[in-house]
């Protein structure tokens, strides 16, 4: 009797948040998916009852192959480079700071607070400060003048230089090659571990992709009539520096907590076994910090995919060299009244973030259930 009442109360208590989550998260996600498959944005998008037709994947086709949406594709490339460099930079710097503080220098508490401070600022504030610091004719560039040196000439976020340029239309072929390489590795591993079925499947897939790369891809007509060049815009370096400045303190805190969690016995045992300090960190501490690294990658990764405010504050709504999909989504939707295409960009972002977060959730759930 009591058990049933308990369960009833539990259900009642949990109901409001389930309903609210259902409406305000999942229903809205579903609605965004739906809108992205309509043509909302034509004629009079802001009418009381706008005329909306279902058009299937038309908007996605437009985003990935449309002549006018080159900006979106460059944004994806920008996001890729930004994410990789920002995440690795924050992890590296955070780890370095954590190890330094782990040596318990004098004034550790002071430095810990100092390094954590940028975290307390909003991206808008960080962006504004760094916009000033990175102004080509002021800030960092004139710093060497203090020491009687000539000023730096780098244009920072104004730079329009692009490196690692590639033709967007090569992307499917290059992807095929990369996936084939990964599959080949899997085949090799499966062979070595004596799993013939797995080896055969992976090997066949790899061979198929290579075959497609060599012969099949020539048959597919190019999506665009001319090569579309995208690459790594050096202007993003400025944004990356600002983002790392803001978040390395956070990764430092995570790592420091992890380092402090390593029992003294383990460290001492390693030392007795003849570890020097460097080996201690490389062979003992770092492997034990793996879960922390993983969580940090997930957290920073999804933040960087969604970056909006930092870019908006540093370079405004229309600077293609540093543009991100989220900024484009905002201007397309709320300035250009292209609600369907804006929703399409939102869905692409959603899928990208899901690709980062879902494996992590699966991993942590498995971890928890195995405990």
């Amino acid at each position: 009797m009591k058990n049933r009442r308990d369960r009833l109360i539990a259900v009642l208590v949990i109901m409001p948040s389930v309903i609210l989550l259902g409406i305000f998260v999942y229903w809205f996600i579903g609605r965004t998916f739906y809108i992205s498959m309509t043509d909302w944005g034509k004629e009079a998008p802001l009418a009381v009852n706008p005329v909306i037709h279902f058009v299937g994947l038309q908007n996605y086709k437009e985003l990935f192959t449309g002549i006018l949406n080159g900006r979106f594709r460059q944004d994806l490339v920008n996001t890729f480079f930004f994410t990789v460099l920002f995440v690795s930079g924050s992890l590296g710097l955070g780890l370095l700071l954590a190890i330094l503080l782990d040596r318990e220098p004098r004034g550790e508490g002071f430095f810990r607070t100092l390094f954590l401070f940028p975290m307390s600022l909003s991206f808008i504030v960080t962006g504004t400060i760094w916009r000033w610091l990175l102004a080509p004719r002021g800030g960092i560039n004139v710093l060497p003048k203090l020491f009687g040196l000539p000023p730096l000439g780098f244009e920072w976020t104004s730079s329009r230089t692009q490196i690692f340029s590639f033709n967007w239309q090569d992307l499917p072929r290059v992807t095929a090659l990369v996936v084939a390489a990964v599959l080949a590795c899997l085949t090799w591993r499966a062979v070595r571990r004596g799993r013939p079925r797995r080896a055969i499947i992976a090997g066949l897939c790899a061979a198929g992709l290579v075959a497609w790369y060599i012969w099949g891809s020539q048959l597919v007509p190019p999506a665009l009539p001319y090569p579309e060049i995208h690459g790594f815009n050096l202007a993003i370096v400025g944004i990356i520096i600002a983002a790392i400045w803001q978040f390395s303190g956070y990764t430092m805190a995570l790592y420091l907590a992890g380092l402090r969690g390593i029992p003294t016995e383990v460290r001492e045992a390693a030392r007795i076994d003849g570890c020097n300090e460097l080996q201690l960190y490389r062979r003992v501490a770092l492997p034990m910090l793996k879960p922390i690294t993983l969580s940090a990658v997930i957290i920073l990764g999804h933040i960087s995919l969604k970056t909006f405010d930092l870019v908006f504050a540093m370079t405004g709504p229309d600077h293609a060299s540093t543009d991100m999909p989220s900024v484009l989504m905002f201007v397309k939707t709320f300035r250009g009244n292209q609600f369907a295409e804006g929703a399409g960009i939102a869905v692409v972002l959603f899928i990208l973030v899901a690709m980062v977060v879902i494996p992590y959730l699966a991993w942590s759930l498995r971890e928890r259930s195995s405990l």
Binding site: L46, P136, W156, P317, H319, A320, F334, N337
Partner: protein
């Protein structure tokens, strides 16, 4: 004190109106993006309204930031959510028509224009730009001019150059300036490049060609329009390389502190130099129509309209009457640094620059600005920012022209 005097003067001059309509009560919500320096001007207008209609409580709903990009986003979510303000600031012309009028969100104000006699007090060129065949959609409060070239007379003298009257002249003197280590033309981020583009386009196409472009009679891929991009590209050679990092104010600063010789910017630059930097118009800084556009006034205007379903419609109509009145415009504009849309404003209240602009406003050919919402709808304007980036990165006229034509087709401008 000044507030009191204004109120008293207005109360006397509009005494009849006060008696007739002083009985309004309730609230009035005014939505705008005027904060900071411009907020003062809006407050003067609100003060005037409150002195006329003391029973009405005015709610000043301002969303600050970046030429209204944030305010417009908030306004759109409010309108879609069925919660319109009583009246909102909007750029007169296609930015209003292409977004709100075709969506049947605005009330036709033709009757108000007739009742208030505004057909005689606003230039007919302006009324054309804010009307469709179905009606007139907003009350213009102020006029800014887009095609103005700014400079410091003393500096030009020192560098030995004259103010260019055509872009060819500019291209001749630009190397002279460069030799002396001066940047010939200061430029800021993306939209200021588009702003420069519209002045260049007006010079190449002339007022008729410019209008034909927006009526869909002239294609964006026409050799004449490609010529605009070519000339624009040659002009860009003489601008600063750090342009994407600069706000328009910083670009004006470059002219003021002698790093650059000229800047093409709307005449809010005069307000900035006069009010913020404390420079005397005509003495400390000079101006001319942007090269090749003498006798043409490329205008933009902030206006207020009446949304369908405004919660306090009567109060909003009273607000529109104040916005369109001579007193209202003369209270607002000297502080905002713009001129009155009416042709009968009291010029003694305005500074030297604004007086000269008002004289031009009454005599010049009037055309509308692209970047500031007069001639093209928001979809085109949004796309044009991307076209500008395409050109700034690639400097390819043909490519930019094709992209512009594509968005013109998408947004229903080109046929």
């Amino acid at each position: 004190m000044r507030k009191l005097i204004t109120a008293a003067v207005v109360a006397l001059s509009l005494g009849g109106l006060v008696w007739a309509q002083g009985s309004l009560s309730g609230e009035l919500e005014i939505f705008s993006w005027w904060a900071g320096d411009e907020g003062v001007a809006l407050q003067a207008l609100i003060d005037l309204y409150e002195s006329l209609y003391p029973g009405v409580q005015v709610i000043n709903a301002t969303v600050a930031g970046g030429a209204g990009i944030n305010a417009k986003a908030v306004l759109k979510t409010r309108m879609l959510g069925g919660n319109p303000p009583d009246s909102f600031q909007v750029h007169a012309g296609q930015e209003l028509i292409g977004t709100w009028v075709i969506a049947h969100r605005m009330e036709d104000l033709t009757w108000l224009f007739q009742e208030e006699g505004w057909f005689d007090t606003f230039p007919s060129g302006l009324i054309d730009l804010i009307s469709t065949e179905e009606g007139i959609w907003s009350v213009p409060l102020n006029i800014h001019r887009s095609n103005v070239l700014w400079y410091i007379p003393e500096n030009l003298e020192q560098w030995g150059v004259q103010v260019p009257t055509t872009w060819e002249e500019f291209l001749e003197i630009a190397p002279v300036l460069q030799e002396q280590g001066v940047i010939p033309l200061a430029l800021g981020r993306n939209w200021t490049a588009s702003h420069l583009w519209e002045s260049v386009a007006l010079a190449v196409l002339g007022p008729d060609g410019w209008e034909a472009l927006w009526k869909g009679e002239l294609s964006f891929t026409d050799p004449k329009v490609i010529e605009v991009w070519d000339l624009f590209g040659r002009i860009l050679e003489y601008t600063n390389e750090d342009a994407p990092s600069l706000s328009w104010q910083q670009a004006v600063d470059m002219v003021v502190n002698g790093t650059a010789a000229f800047n093409v910017m709307g005449d809010w630059a005069a307000g900035y130099m006069f009010a913020t930097l404390g420079l005397e118009p005509g003495v400390d800084f000079g101006w001319a129509p942007s090269p090749g556009t003498a006798g043409i006034f490329m205008m933009l205007s902030d206006s207020f309209g009446l949304p369908v379903g405004a919660p306090h419609r009567d109060n909003a109509i009273a607000w529109l009457k104040v916005v369109g009145s001579r007193e209202g415009q003369d209270a607002f504009n000297p502080l905002k640094g713009s001129i009155a849309a009416r042709v009968d404003s009291d010029l003694t209240k305005y500074n030297t620059y604004l007086q000269s602009a008002a004289a031009d406003w009454r005599s010049n050919t009037i055309v509308g600005s692209l970047v500031h919402g007069v001639v093209a709808n928001e979809r085109f304007m949004d796309g044009f920012a991307t076209v500008m980036e395409i050109f700034l990165s690639g400097r390819n006229s043909q490519q930019a022209a094709m992209a512009a034509e594509a968005i013109a087709i998408q947004s229903g401008i080109a046929k």
